[in-house]
Symmetry: C5
Amino acid sequence: MDWHALHEGEEAKLLQLADRYKLHPLHIEDCQHGGQNAKLEDGDSYLFIVLKPVFTQDDGTVAFGDFDVFIGSGYLITYEEIGCNKLLALVQKVQNHQALSNDQIFYRILDGIVDSYVPVLDAYSEQIDVIEDQVLFDPKPDLLETIFKLKRSFIELRRVLTQTRDLCGHLMRSEDAILDPKLHPYFRDVYDHLSRHIETVEMSRDLLSGALDIYLSSVANRTNQTMKVLTILSTIALPSVATSSIFGMNFEFMPWIHRPEGLIYAGVTSLSITAILVSILKWRRWI
Amino acid sequence: MDWHALHEGEEAKLLQLADRYKLHPLHIEDCQHGGQNAKLEDGDSYLFIVLKPVFTQDDGTVAFGDFDVFIGSGYLITYEEIGCNKLLALVQKVQNHQALSNDQIFYRILDGIVDSYVPVLDAYSEQIDVIEDQVLFDPKPDLLETIFKLKRSFIELRRVLTQTRDLCGHLMRSEDAILDPKLHPYFRDVYDHLSRHIETVEMSRDLLSGALDIYLSSVANRTNQTMKVLTILSTIALPSVATSSIFGMNFEFMPWIHRPEGLIYAGVTSLSITAILVSILKWRRWI
Amino acid sequence: MDWHALHEGEEAKLLQLADRYKLHPLHIEDCQHGGQNAKLEDGDSYLFIVLKPVFTQDDGTVAFGDFDVFIGSGYLITYEEIGCNKLLALVQKVQNHQALSNDQIFYRILDGIVDSYVPVLDAYSEQIDVIEDQVLFDPKPDLLETIFKLKRSFIELRRVLTQTRDLCGHLMRSEDAILDPKLHPYFRDVYDHLSRHIETVEMSRDLLSGALDIYLSSVANRTNQTMKVLTILSTIALPSVATSSIFGMNFEFMPWIHRPEGLIYAGVTSLSITAILVSILKWRRWI
Amino acid sequence: MDWHALHEGEEAKLLQLADRYKLHPLHIEDCQHGGQNAKLEDGDSYLFIVLKPVFTQDDGTVAFGDFDVFIGSGYLITYEEIGCNKLLALVQKVQNHQALSNDQIFYRILDGIVDSYVPVLDAYSEQIDVIEDQVLFDPKPDLLETIFKLKRSFIELRRVLTQTRDLCGHLMRSEDAILDPKLHPYFRDVYDHLSRHIETVEMSRDLLSGALDIYLSSVANRTNQTMKVLTILSTIALPSVATSSIFGMNFEFMPWIHRPEGLIYAGVTSLSITAILVSILKWRRWI
Amino acid sequence: MDWHALHEGEEAKLLQLADRYKLHPLHIEDCQHGGQNAKLEDGDSYLFIVLKPVFTQDDGTVAFGDFDVFIGSGYLITYEEIGCNKLLALVQKVQNHQALSNDQIFYRILDGIVDSYVPVLDAYSEQIDVIEDQVLFDPKPDLLETIFKLKRSFIELRRVLTQTRDLCGHLMRSEDAILDPKLHPYFRDVYDHLSRHIETVEMSRDLLSGALDIYLSSVANRTNQTMKVLTILSTIALPSVATSSIFGMNFEFMPWIHRPEGLIYAGVTSLSITAILVSILKWRRWI
């Protein structure tokens, strides 16, 4: 029932507690440095757990903070990186619950952090839907940048999710005295949520890399279409240019040029050549 | 023999039963929320199983519903999402069988749901055959959209199949008292069906991603062909344009222009240049 | 010593035997339906094995049939799909051997079926050699179709080989009374053959997907070459067209046009521009 | 407490020690040859460990040296390849610590070497950031060379990191008398660092191969844009060239040519054709 | 101490020995047929090992032969495919060592064969270096052929190396009486060499497939550059052609044509249009 909810900046208190409960120096170092992987480590008489709450940065991008937990018999220490407001609200909500045991408090925080990944995943899914449409109907270069950034985000998100799932897998099978076995199905539930999240990320990554392939195909297709247009243009223009250049030559003796119907003859010749060329190209399925 | 076949909307009854048979709150929550993964979970005195029947939506696309099953000693509870008419028919057919034990009923439902994946897989296979033909002989941009959608469907289908197979793998090895060991070979049979389905999906995904590669190659090929046509056109037209432009210059002193056979000389010159150019290009295999 | 060699169409006999030897209904169903995966299943007192002999269809493509085997103590039942003539010859050859025990007969059939994959693999290898050459020296669109079909064949072949290998792995470690342990090294030998076949298929698939990549590169290369030809053509033609157009203008006051050497001046100018342009392009390595 | 810190060139001493402590000839050979994999091998009464410190070569590229360690009960032998100055500083710093036991010395060296990978990883990360920007906004061919070299570096780095991690995994679970079990959490800490490094490398490789795909898409996009420009140019120029060639023909009987407003008619005709062409192309979304 | 060093063609002797030492008929068959995988098989009282020495064929390509070894208690039989001269030298060198036991002889041969892979790997590495340079600076179609052949070689080499490594893994853990446990570290050493070789092959394959990607990008890049050149050429030529065609029209009433400075006006107009076009293209970053 002894919950010490510390924030970044309260290192002095943390060191005191480390002293009282004989916390391992490496674990204290992890709290101080931040930027840890999500993990669970067995201390001699306690569990040390690093969770990675997600929060939105000022520039709209998503980042992960550190939330460190020590659970021993009779005490719970949480050490929280500043910046994650939603998490703060979560912690306060849990703190108002008087009747909760230490491991129930921990479960609620874990569950809350895992739930906080859902809106992030949803936002990414929507982005992919938009990308898919654009890739097919309006492939522009700035789409490539979006795909690249999203890819980066998925790589990072996947790492956090996998590590947290491994941690939950350990929790739902743990047999030490610190965690009540009655909580196992609850941890299993969190584990299942994380598995589903990871599957969603995998699916999204797959779709994203598919989107890039389709972008390339889409652009190749457009180039092909532009080529065809150019070829058709040339097919139409070149015969008339050639024909009229010929009749523009300054030879004294030229056929048709002194006849009134000469111009019509020339026009018909030119148009016939164009018509024949277009027919050939159509017939060979070249344009 | 005590089968409670509930539908979405009968939550009150579900809660009553949960109370009577001490069903775990997390399992009840799964029934209520829907959108679960296919899974099998051990309750204290019962098995909780989520199956994913497939059904066709109004817009012709395929979706997966939830079908939740609780099997305990002496009772069977099924909870069904509304919308899956075929499944309804299946359940009714099984209900008419008076002599079936609870686990036999469950096997029949499971088998029926797994069989319902077959027409979906067949429809996808046909789509791939069509795509293959189009990709080779008529690569159009809307093909990309079809490939993309199909890819998405396969990702989802594969997930459901894998999870259901894992669940069957558990059933065919289970040693608790709830399921009669005589059913093991039957579950193994379902397991084999699912394995074959998964292999079909894998094969289809492989073919689909191959189709995209071939689409790209096909388009590149057509661009190349269009380029060649344009080059041949230019090879034919440019010499005659150049020649006739030259004889169109207003110089006082020009060769051939005062001779009757001048025009023929010019024509022969122009055609010779074209012929030489085409020969060179053919010889170097450039066109 | 009691070998019942049944063919498709002798279902009545099969059902009689099923009754006599208490064969599992699911296994009988597998025999009747066909299209099974290669597999080994433990019945209560017998082994049920599905093998996949390969045969050539009328249209020259390769297909797999079903060959079902039941081995119990004192009896052997084989059930054969019609259409595989080579297999028929194999079975007859084995039948003439009077002195063979049931498990020896089974080994010979298994070995014969696995050997029958060799010519198929060889035919595919040759096809790949042809594709490799064509892809490099004559990349045509119909090559894509060949690659696609071959890819499909490899996917299927690989599936059959893997399943048969797994089955052999089981046989060479089996410790039940039905198969003589003296046969273990023989099954291991078949296992090794199958492993080598699978490696060949993997190698072929790798080469095939490499061939597609190279096809794309090859086509891109040709497009580049065609582009260069077009650019060189334009570089040569455009200056002369431009120059002669200029001297074809109807201005009263034009330089050079009244001089006898004017035409030569114009020609030299035009050729010089072309020469300079070509030099620049060569120097910048653009063509 | 008996630490023999040898450098490359002190082979005679090494052989003496090998004789005294009965070191395995293969291990001595590994020290002499260099270019070993990072590894841990159990000698009869000692551990032989090869570490791979990183150092920067004269041409700015990164290379790996060999650092060989023998830990026995009561003695520590380190054999160091010359060239790694930073490592020298590290070793000296550790040597000044009088109170350290052999295994603590070893841990400090291991930790120092693993920490020395961080600046290398950071430098690579920055390079990837630069590449990403260039690939999107300024795709030049020399970028390909950078990507290629970086890819090579990652392959090598990954190999060293994986091997060192495997080695640490062994250390943190080792149960022989040579390493104090109190060091296990410290080795686990190094193991975690290495895992994080490997994840960073994997992530970087993923991003790099994504960068290459995007480079290709980017170039394809630019080609498409250039094609469109060429097509638009042709669309604008060809009608006016064709029209004016027609009115340049030397027919006696031509419409408009004797009228004062004829030139305007011709100009309007030419511009109208261009306008219609451009409209069609825009409408069909071809340019 | 009883070493029977047989060559291909001494089958009669082999059959005699098979009879004397009760060698398994399948092993004898393997010797006779050749083309085996590298493998180790336990006979009842001996080990049967197939090694794959590498040799250079007459056409400069690399091929693998078979070298079969039977080690029993008190005898060693080696059966060697003709064609591998280097191996012959190795065997003779080992034969001159009188004092070696059978398992030491075997170790030396194994070590010699594994060492013989090194020059092959080195030759391939050099080829890749050459390919990398060419792919970046001079992407020609015949490079594709080289890449394809090298890819094939790596696939085969990898297979031999992996199988030989698996075989060594077995040897270094074997606990039967035939191989002296003192040799275990030596076999482990060979195992490490092979692991390093396999890593080199993997790294090379990775680089090779990267080279192909870069080839494609390189060619796409060149096509883009050629396109730009063509566009610039057209941008420069088309305005002057159009302008001069206009002033070449035979209208009676044309502006400027009767003035002395008319030609200059026309030239300035034409050059201005070109200048404006080039500026626009530069500004929009299209060329």
